[in-house]
Amino acid sequence: MNVFEYQARSLLGRYGLPIPPGGVATSPEEARQIAERLTRGPFVVKSQILAGGRGKGRFLSGFSGGVRLCEHPAEVEEVARAMLGGVLVTAQTGPEGRPVNKVLVAEAPRIQRELYLAILLDRGRRCPVVIGSAQGGVDIEEVAREEPGALHRIWVDPQVGFWPYQARELAVRIGLRGPLLNPAADVIARLYRFFCECDASLAEVNPLAVIENEKIAVIDAKIGFDENALFRHPEIAAYRNEVVEDVREAEALKAGLNYVGLSGEIGCMVNGAGLAMATMDILHRYGGEPANFLDVGGGADQNQVTKAFGILMADPRVRAIFVHIFGGIMRCDVIARGIVEAVSHAKPKVPIVVRLQGTNFEEGKAILRQSDLLIRTADDLADAAQKAVAAARETR
């Protein structure tokens, strides 16, 4: 789960990381007031969306730049007015862009050097890795490609922990010596403490900057959290409702379903994540595109099936629904009754194709056939997928 920059700032601030003062605004007036309260300009106004490339982004309105520098509070208000309520398109958002409902207004210190600092999990080595680079403020993936030697990594033994000498080593390697060395090592150590204590999956500061008077500052931060650990961080978990931008995903979240919205036209309901992905893939092979990933769980019950139908049917993109269940522990006849119940309740306007396989699949199919509902069934996975793709074409 990724959070907005303004939320990341507030969490990192609690760990004593040096963050330029500022605040978040939902209206142009509020943005101006924040700027007026700050000690001095220039100010930066930053659109709050969960995607990168904001600086070079463009609003659908034509307004250019999702991040803008302003000299005066009046200018802050003007820029915030152009951004708020607009839709920002960046290299990472896709052509549809993301709505901007909040802007961050902060002091913009004079930057002398831009560096990079991040902590994430190295899956292969099964431990956190702290990454630093003297080249910050740019696309770090590009740095990694063009000049791999410019990235410095320190792997942390989870049994030993991260010690100050390691933070100093990294600071030196990214060129922070002299009066900057100890403050930089302190920033790195604090970021590591945050990473572990808050169960982050990513803590990226880009850029980490050297500003006037030989000071270090966190200019922008991207933070992600391990969803499995949210149960022990209720305060961070509370951000969840704010950060889900897709309406369909917000609904699924409330229903406790594993859902990812996509842009195709076949609504998918599958039990198990691997099977759900494989189902999306086979639809794609036959020329269909999934409207979503939806895993109702390995042991899905009737209640979840009903909720899942509700979400699929509320999606205007969906031209056909494909239900694919492998009945293992959960018997297919039980699933079939759940589907009949849900369908007769919700009366979907799009065709439904169902493939049941596994325990009692014959009984399951018989229940669907006898239901008088317009449900198409198939035994073979390839056949089922082709039927679903064809059904979506009919209703186009």
Binding site: N228, A273, L283, E289, G328, I329
Partner: protein, 294 residues
């Protein structure tokens, strides 16, 4: 023969009195698995279903029942603790079904298991089964059929689908191992392939992978240097968008190595055929096996 579990495996179920634990303990008992003990702290001295003795700790269960494998259903917040408890008691094989364990907990667990004799399967996995002998997990036992194909998979229901397709064609399985959908887990694809290689009863191997991480690439590299058995692979997630977690915590594309394309390339480069449609897993396996016979 088989890998990891057989008719002689003696199982303790941690969390045996919980909803999932009791349901699946019964299903395993029905399959013929010898479940010799259960653990629920505070319920020591009682019996599960009037037949399985319950203990307060894994250590006590081990002394009394000589169990050598553990099946864990303890909820996510206490699951890492349950794994470490089983390892500390000297249990050789730990199968953790629990989904949703914090990643940093698993990082510490894996570090603690280094240098011990304990093997961990999972978490967030269906478990392991040697058809006809022993089922330690939540998979539907009856779809399996004793035979000679070893299956290793990162998924649950997708593995059932694969097993179903194989069994329907009369192709049985030596053992099926679900290594789990979390980014940090116990035995990996290369390690299980290694076990199948050393198992005389396994003639061919099916690898089921998915997006995220680079274990498939490691498996391909390992197979190239060590394995002599015909192997085929299926990979899920061609259509998964980057940066989104597809159900499994581990199924998220975060770099070029995490994509299905990169994994297909790695397998094909070493000569492992990749089955492109999930509907063709049974047929693909069948083809690979006939190819070696002729």
């Amino acid at each position: 023969m088989s890998i990891l579990v057989d008719g002689a495996t003696r199982v303790v179920v941690q969390g045996i009195t919980g909803k999932a634990g009791s349901f699946h303990a019964r299903a395993c008992l029905d399959y013929g698995t010898s479940i010799v003990a259960g653990v629920t702290p505070g319920r020591g001295g009682q019996k599960f279903d009037d037949r399985v003795p319950i203990f307060d700790s894994v250590a006590e269960a081990k002394v009394a029942s000589a169990c050598n494998a553990s099946l864990i259903f303890v909820p996510a917040a206490g699951a890492a603790d349950a794994i470490l408890e089983a390892a500390a008691a000297g249990i050789e094989l730990i199968v953790c079904i629990t989904e949703g364990i914090p990643i940093l907990d698993m990082v510490r667990v894996r570090r603690c298991l280094e240098g011990t004799n304990t093997r961990l399967i999972g978490p967030n996995c269906p478990g392991v089964i040697t058809p006809g002998q022993c089922k330690i997990g939540i998979m539907p036992g009856y779809i399996h059929k004793p035979g000679r194909v070893g299956i290793v998979s990162r998924s649950g229901t997708l593995t059932y689908e694969a097993v179903w397709q194989l069994s329907q064609r009369g192709i049985g399985q030596s053992s099926c191992v679900g290594i789990g959908g979390d980014p940090v887990h116990g035995l990996g694809l290369p390690e299980v392939i290694d076990l199948f290689d050393r198992d005389p009863a396994t003639e061919a191997i099916l690898v089921i992978g998915e997006i995220g991480g680079c274990e498939e690439q490691e498996a391909a590299a390992f197979w190239k240097t060590s394995s002599r058995k015909p192997t085929v692979a299926f990979l899920a997630g061609v259509t998964a968008p980057p940066g989104r977690r597809m159900g499994h915590a581990g199924a998220v594309i975060t770099g070029a190595a995490g994509t299905v394309e990169a994994k297909i390339e790695a397998f094909e480069a070493v000569g492992i055929p990749v089955i492109l449609s999930p509907a063709d897993i049974g047929a693909g396996m069948s083809k690979a096996m006939t190819a070696t016979v002729s």
